[in-house]
Every structure is written in C-alpha cells, then in structure tokens.
C-alpha cells in the first residue's frame, strides 16, 4: 500500500466509511509506516477540533427574515397562480362570450320566430276565413250576445265593443287557432272590407303600443292592453285600422 492511498483510507476509516478489509490493510501498513500513523492521529484530532468548533452562530434575525421572505413568496405564488395562467382567464372570457352569443341567438330566434309565426298564423287565419262561406260562427252586432258566446269556448273574456256609429259595425265572432292556441276572433266591417281582430291573453306583463305590420298587401296591427294581445288584420288601409284600434 502506498502512503497517499493510505491517507485516503485513514480519512474514510475516521468517518466510518471504509470497508473492514481495507481497514485491516491500513492497520498493517501503519504498523510499518510511522508517518501514516502520525497522519491518522493528526486527522483524528483535526476531526475532533472541527466538530467541537461548532457552527457559525446564527443571529436570531435570520429566522425572522427567512419567515418574512417565505410569507412574501407564498403571497406571490398565490397571485402568480391567477396571473401566471392567462389561459384560464382567456378560457373564462371565451366561455362567457359563447354563452352570451348562444343565449342571445336563442332568445332572438325564439322571439323572432314566434313573432313571424304569429304574423303568418294571423294572416292565414284571416285569409282562410274569407275563403269560407262565412267568417263568422256567431253573427251578431250586439256585444252583449257576442261576449257571452265566448264563455266556455276560450279561457278568457275578450272585450267586445260595437263601434258601428264610427263606421266599424260588429259583424260577429268565431274561434280560431293562432300560435298553437285557441283564440277569440271578432269580425268587424268597414264598408266592404272585413277586419278580423284576434284576441288572446298576453305572454308578457304590461301593455304594448300598437305596431303596424304590412304583409303581402294586408295590414296587421298588434297591441297589448290589460293583459290581452290584439291582432287586427285586414286589407283595409293602415290609418283606418288604427282608427278601429282606438275605438276598441
């Protein structure tokens, strides 16, 4: 065994990291080599001295500093969790936009659809009634016989008036079917024109002002009053239709 090899073994044996075999060999070498035996006792003393020298003293403020720094790091980490993942916010924004778009389109199409469907239904019902022999089931110019006729036929009591004095005589009434429900239809005359006024309970609360909708040469006028939706339809001009609306 060489002396430099022995020195490495001496160091390892002091630390208890040398194998039994090499410790045995080392012992043999040292028996014949006083220099290495001296190294061993020096290394032992050095090890002892270092161990008892102890650690560098830790000032108390260091722990305070470290704790503060850790709390700060934790706070930064929390903020970074939100800030550091912009895709989360992008995703949320995208989801919100999608939701608004879907909801908006849905309500709009639903509203538009029901609106245009009602227009179609009102017009069809009017035209169909004119194709038949009579657009009237109960023929009477007397509101007090027309109004009771609706009892049990529809689930509401339509207001029936006879503005005959103003040139809109009440011809009678019938039942019709608009937008999937049974509705009251009041029939008025204006010279040779026939005016159908469909009435059913409004889906929305509150009154709505009259709106004139010209469709295929016909004039449709709709309004809501006292919880009832009115649709007047005729080939009469718009102004006269509005005149009738004011009388009803």
């Amino acid at each position: 065994m060489q002396c430099d090899e022995a020195q490495a073994l001496i160091s390892a044996s002091i630390d208890g990291e040398a194998s039994d075999v090499s410790v045995g060999e080392l012992r043999q070498h040292m028996a014949a080599c006083p220099a290495c035996a001296g190294v061993q006792s020096d290394f032992r003393r050095l090890s002892q001295q270092l161990k008892s020298a102890g650690r560098e003293i830790l000032p108390a403020r260091v722990e305070t500093r470290v704790r503060q720094a850790l709390a700060q790091a934790e706070a930064e980490q929390r903020r970074a969790l939100v800030r550091g993942k912009p895709w989360i916010r992008q995703l949320a924004a995208m989801a919100a936009v999608c939701l608004i778009a879907v909801f908006g389109t849905w309500t709009m199409t639903r509203y538009m659809d029901s609106e245009s469907r009602i227009e179609q239904d009102v017009l069809s019902a009017h035209v169909r009634s004119l194709l038949q022999d009579s657009p009237i089931q109960v023929a009477s110019g007397d509101p007090h016989s027309v109004k009771p006729w609706f009892n049990g036929r529809v689930e509401f009591a339509p207001e029936v008036k006879d503005p005959a004095a103003e040139g809109f005589p009440l011809a009678g009434a019938r039942l019709d079917y608009i937008d999937g429900r049974r509705v009251a239809a009041l029939v008025y005359k204006r010279r040779l024109h026939t005016v159908d006024v469909f009435v059913w309970p409004s889906a929305h609360a509150g009154d709505a002002a009259a709106r004139l909708i010209p469709v295929k040469g016909y004039n449709l006028l709709t309004w809501t009053r006292n919880g009832l939706t009115y649709w007047a339809v005729s080939d009469l001009n718009g102004a006269e239709l509005q005149q009738l609306q004011a009388l009803l």
């Binding site: 390892a12 020096d42 270092l50 003293i57 830790l58 260091v62």
Partner: protein, 186 residues
C-alpha cells in the same frame, strides 16, 4: 395546513446548519444571511420537487448552488478591483482576525480553548471552497459520504478523496499556523 407551514416545519430546524454552510462557502456573515434567505425561498418555491426523506441534503444542495452562484458573481464583480482590495490580504493568505468565525465564544470554544478554535477555523477558512464544503458537511453536519455526494453532485469516490485531501491540506495549514505563532512569540 398550507404548504408554507409544512415547509417551515421541515426546513426551519435546519436553518442553523444551512446558514453555517453558506457562511463557510462565502465567509461573509451578511452574505451568508442573504444566501440562506434566498436559498430558503427557492427551496419553498420548488418544494413540490422535494421527494420526501431527509430534507437536509436537499436544502444543502440549494444553499450550495445559491452560494456558488453568488461566488461566481463576486468573481465577475472583482474583475474591477479597488486599490484597497488590491492591497488587502487575499483569501489564500488566511491570516488575521478576519476569519475568526465568531466574536462571542461558544461553549465549545471555551471547551477546546479559544485560541485552538480560532486556529483551526482560520486554517479551514484558508482552504479552497471545494475542500471547505466537504469538511463542513462531514465534520459539522455529520452527513454520510452518500449524502455529501448528493449535495455536491459528485461520486462517492470523489467525496472520499476530496475529504482526504482536504484533511491533508488542513493539517499542513494548521502546522504552518502553529509554526508562525511560535515564530511570532520568539
């Protein structure tokens, strides 16, 4: 329990040891404090990568990395040398009170005698950082060769030979210090 509480419970008991390692790597008390704080914050941030077991070697690895980065920075900074620094005693000279570890004598110091303690710490301070760190990890922190190998990122054989050479160097320096003291006394 927050991860910070867990981390503090595991890591703060080793603050003393981590600070000691940092001090012996950079041999400056204010810098050792900065390094140990930086290292603990880094350790906390990468706490998720800690795979359990003894936290001490893991912490030491981080302290060591921070300290070496700091030393590298100091080396770069010291390319511009002031007159005072140029004439100040170099680390290799390892003489003078500058390297005496503590102003206050610890109980151990009283036990082995202040002079002897100062002498051995001065000799230690004069060693190269690579030698200092293995001695600190082995003698002061009592890490096994395997743990030291993990911390310094070297094979166990390297740890063994480095410790042996560090001890040889320390022995030589201590001998020189004693000789010098005797010469001065005469």
């Amino acid at each position: 329990m927050s991860s910070r509480t867990t981390f503090e419970q595991l890591a703060l008991p080793h603050l003393d040891a981590a600070h000691n390692l940092a001090y012996w790597l950079v041999r400056s008390r204010p810098d050792a404090e900065d390094i140990v704080q930086d290292a603990f914050v880094r350790a906390f941030r990468s706490f998720a990568t800690f795979r359990g077991g003894d936290i001490k070697p893991w912490l030491f690895t981080i302290v060591r990395n921070v300290a070496y980065r700091w030393l590298a920075g100091r080396k770069r900074a010291s390319n511009v040398v002031s007159i005072e620094e140029a004439f100040a005693p170099r680390a290799g000279d390892a003489v003078g009170e500058a390297f005496i570890a503590s102003e206050e004598p610890s109980p151990e110091a009283l036990l082995i005698g202040a002079q002897e303690r100062a002498r051995v710490l001065t000799a230690l301070a004069g060693l190269a950082p690579a030698f200092r760190e293995v001695l600190v990890l082995r003698e002061l922190e009592e890490l096994s060769y395997n743990e030291i190998a993990d911390v310094i990122g070297a094979p166990v054989g390297t740890v063994m030979s480095r410790l042996s050479r560090a001890r040889g160097e320390l022995r030589t320096r201590l001998g020189a210090l004693i000789e010098k003291e005797e010469r001065d006394a005469m």
